[in-house]
Symmetry: D2
Amino acid sequence: MVRFGILGAGRIGKVHAGTIANSSRASVAYVADAIPDAAAALAASVGAQVASIDQILASDVEAILIATPTDTHADLIEQAARAGKAILCEKPVSLSVERIEACLPVVKQAGVPLMIGFNRRFDPNFAAVQQRIKGGEIGEVEIVTIISRDPAPPPVSYIERSGGLYRDMMIHDFDMARFLVGEDFVSVHALGSALVDKAIGAAGDVDTAAVQMQTASGKIAVITNSRRATYGYDQRVEVHGSKGMLRAGNVHMTTLERADGAGFTQDVIQNFFIDRYVAAYAAEVNSFIDAMTKGVTPTPSGYDGLQAQKLAEAATRSSQTGQAVRVE
Amino acid sequence: MVRFGILGAGRIGKVHAGTIANSSRASVAYVADAIPDAAAALAASVGAQVASIDQILASDVEAILIATPTDTHADLIEQAARAGKAILCEKPVSLSVERIEACLPVVKQAGVPLMIGFNRRFDPNFAAVQQRIKGGEIGEVEIVTIISRDPAPPPVSYIERSGGLYRDMMIHDFDMARFLVGEDFVSVHALGSALVDKAIGAAGDVDTAAVQMQTASGKIAVITNSRRATYGYDQRVEVHGSKGMLRAGNVHMTTLERADGAGFTQDVIQNFFIDRYVAAYAAEVNSFIDAMTKGVTPTPSGYDGLQAQKLAEAATRSSQTGQAVRVE
Amino acid sequence: MVRFGILGAGRIGKVHAGTIANSSRASVAYVADAIPDAAAALAASVGAQVASIDQILASDVEAILIATPTDTHADLIEQAARAGKAILCEKPVSLSVERIEACLPVVKQAGVPLMIGFNRRFDPNFAAVQQRIKGGEIGEVEIVTIISRDPAPPPVSYIERSGGLYRDMMIHDFDMARFLVGEDFVSVHALGSALVDKAIGAAGDVDTAAVQMQTASGKIAVITNSRRATYGYDQRVEVHGSKGMLRAGNVHMTTLERADGAGFTQDVIQNFFIDRYVAAYAAEVNSFIDAMTKGVTPTPSGYDGLQAQKLAEAATRSSQTGQAVRVE
Amino acid sequence: MVRFGILGAGRIGKVHAGTIANSSRASVAYVADAIPDAAAALAASVGAQVASIDQILASDVEAILIATPTDTHADLIEQAARAGKAILCEKPVSLSVERIEACLPVVKQAGVPLMIGFNRRFDPNFAAVQQRIKGGEIGEVEIVTIISRDPAPPPVSYIERSGGLYRDMMIHDFDMARFLVGEDFVSVHALGSALVDKAIGAAGDVDTAAVQMQTASGKIAVITNSRRATYGYDQRVEVHGSKGMLRAGNVHMTTLERADGAGFTQDVIQNFFIDRYVAAYAAEVNSFIDAMTKGVTPTPSGYDGLQAQKLAEAATRSSQTGQAVRVE
């Protein structure tokens, strides 16, 4: 039985706490949140106690789930590591590559497991693509194409604190590209535009972007993002290999199709990220519990978190300078 | 808070008890089963007590969920009705139309709600088809086509006690046809063959069958069944109307597609009925709880259970005689 | 070089004459039509001469293509057979089974090849289904499902002379069912309604119909027809076998798909039978030329024409009486 | 009646001559080819005469179709222009931007129509996408995604004379991107690898490539190419706009689908460019005849040919230097 302390009782904290509470191998012992009512409500619903972060770190829980605001992640990882806790931290570790590079050695020295919450790796569709690639079904990977589009842009106030599209939104796709290619990328070129909302451009960010990357062995990944898609939360990957092609598409709300004079219309797709990735969030937490139970190292690791952040930083720079950027 | 007594701790009883236990508006108070260990295990997992059927009917629970073997359903419905309980009974009420016709007046006299567990009405895909029909999206319904194929035939020992394919398997499709057409059928013609397993034929049953039915207003439904499909649990409906066509297809395990020299291959479909209809089972129980909470009459009703059984009986007779059968 | 005389310069006569004229192995020598201008126009476009039917039958052409009105087919087949010509005759041979039974012995005695123009057997999609069945890809055929819907009903004046839906429209599907099942059917049950146009019902015909048929070995075919589909000319077949399932669907105008708030909409399907079956008509004529060139017997044969007509007649009777009909 | 002289009786020359010969508004008067037998065979099949290029240019034909090797195109365009002929020239005008820039003024001075044979603009699927974009169906274009993969790489001997992947293969996609976006691109970044065949790398070329481009207004296009796809000739476009998304996919050989334990498999796609684009080639030539008949300017124009070549040159340079290239 793995006992967790949950730091952060917001949207994602709740999703993860629910998964832990439903697991026969884990339980939530404590919940902490800056908003006392939020902590109390979540604690009540999963049979846990409210506590401060310090109390939780000083308690006997084996695992800490970090679902607090991004700018606290690195500090909390270090504190939890020093307290000897296994850590599952929501992505990203930090918007700053330097901060991640400072943080990871602390974890290493403490010898505790650290998993970064790149939930999309656990989506059953994308996970199946990766497993089949590993099984050799399409031979050598040559081109990875990732399309991610959000239903609607966040408010500009959010954009301003987000670190920009590449760090805030495309970070998921950088990790997915690494997950599917199975190698690190050495060059990044990014193009960005503010086409959806001019205010996003005025805030110094982009809302429409393309990135292409290459590994040392020549494998190529192409990512496009938009902050708005009128048809829902568009999440697709395609992998072209030497022996075939694999792709995983969107999840429609139902299998319903209507035919009439306008053509043949399939139902709309999932439109909200928590609905779209509900199975992924659960599988992610269960994978962490699994790793702890079996004593194996969980993935995605801190290194994966660092590499995704490096790609986001390179893309941000490339988008600003117009030139390709090398990643060492 | 609706308190339930669960009669039957088998496969379906467990699914339903889980839904009730997870509901914020309902709870499981008691579980009864002929196998004490089964009752105890289920009771423990949902925080309920083990009790006998008599004890449960004498208790203060408001609702009884009947998930016992088919041949006990009608008796239990009558007992529960006389005890003044709201009843959710797994399909079918009975393999005998006469028995159902004797049972329903008892329920009526007791004035208790009775819902029959035709789970497929609550499948999100099929429910959406029916809602759009009701919304007028395809005008008048003209032809309903239902295809149901099981992954593999049950053992002959099961077949022998099953009442035959029309009562055991196609019963779901009779209800679905009525649900989609919105009218009763007045004529039934059935064709059956034992093509999958000659032992099924030797046992006097068929494993491959087609039925066509017509309503008084001329609407047509066509159903085909097979006890075996190499590609999984095939569950499809299509409704052709005066203004368009609606269909709902199978649920693939993932959205994964592979392309190679053999073509473009989509992932396999759900292969087990409980997985395929997991959302439907939950929605069914929630619909019953909803009806109880709001004081409205739940559907599908006992009348729906009776009509489906009449169609199954007519089809059985038609299949045996080779002639069409009128249903009054 | 196979030289043809074309009897009938209407819509289908023109399509076939064009195919013959474009073939490197065949040519059109003569064209006959009751309307001199039609004959002249078609003859000019394919480099042929206008002639009377008698002149053509007395000429040295090897092959006669009969594309005249249905009620002349049987007489012309007999005349052409007696003149020693190979015959490609549009379906049906006759609306009367008796007339076909009288006609076929004349052909047999003359020892000339006779092919009936069931064009759908030559559709690349349906032909591929049948070839794969023959190749054993899905094992034994168990259930054939055929859906045919016309875009819009013909005028009632046409309906009145048509022989009724089963002889006029479903005749194609009877042949397709035999083509895919590879056996003759021994029982037929039909249900028909006039739901599209009450005037069709008033004329004694139906516009919406379902037929189910069984072979002596127990294989089942289910056919549904409608005289109207708002979404185009709906032409589908599905074959369920012991090792898998094969289906062939509609042909969309383009591969275009649009996604927006209404869902994902594929382009409309072919809406006119000559466009939908353009490849089939050409393949049909080329198959006949092929058979002649190689000295093999063309199919579908006169027997195929007879059997389809018997099924149409049985279905008509079943629809009128409400009872299943045996076909000997 | 537009009379054509055909220069080049190779694969494409034959396709185009066939279209012209079948047109009621055009005819082939002369055919020239360096191989006398090729010219004679084609001339015979379309009812034309064999002649030398000089004879054809001196004749009274109104139009010249240039389907000779690429390195002769620019010279022949100039000669035909000076002879006052309307010109339909296969892509590309030249592998050299400078040569095109020298050629176009000659055409302009002669005042003759010049159309460049970018056949994919005339594919019914892609043409429909562009027409719907022009009709405003998806609002403003934001991201264009083009995927082109050949079934198998050409021999290295061809590669060596081809000008490289960007000029030889991706040239089509550069034109398609301009066609769909409706603006010129100002920046180009290309990544290339030799993953399919190391010999292609040794010859200084790539066989796997990605390009991303941006217009002055910020619209983005992403193109990926591979010289090999095990599943056929992969040709797709997708356009994401402010009001929706449009895409056009591959053309499957048939609509056949098989279901079995491996999943649901659609038939393979067209595997040869002439089969895949048969309708496009015909529509292209008919569009040219149309423009001539109506006295309007044909497109794609010489300017379109020049711009595609500039993008190919920029991509080649970018791929070699690793840096983005501005296109003025």
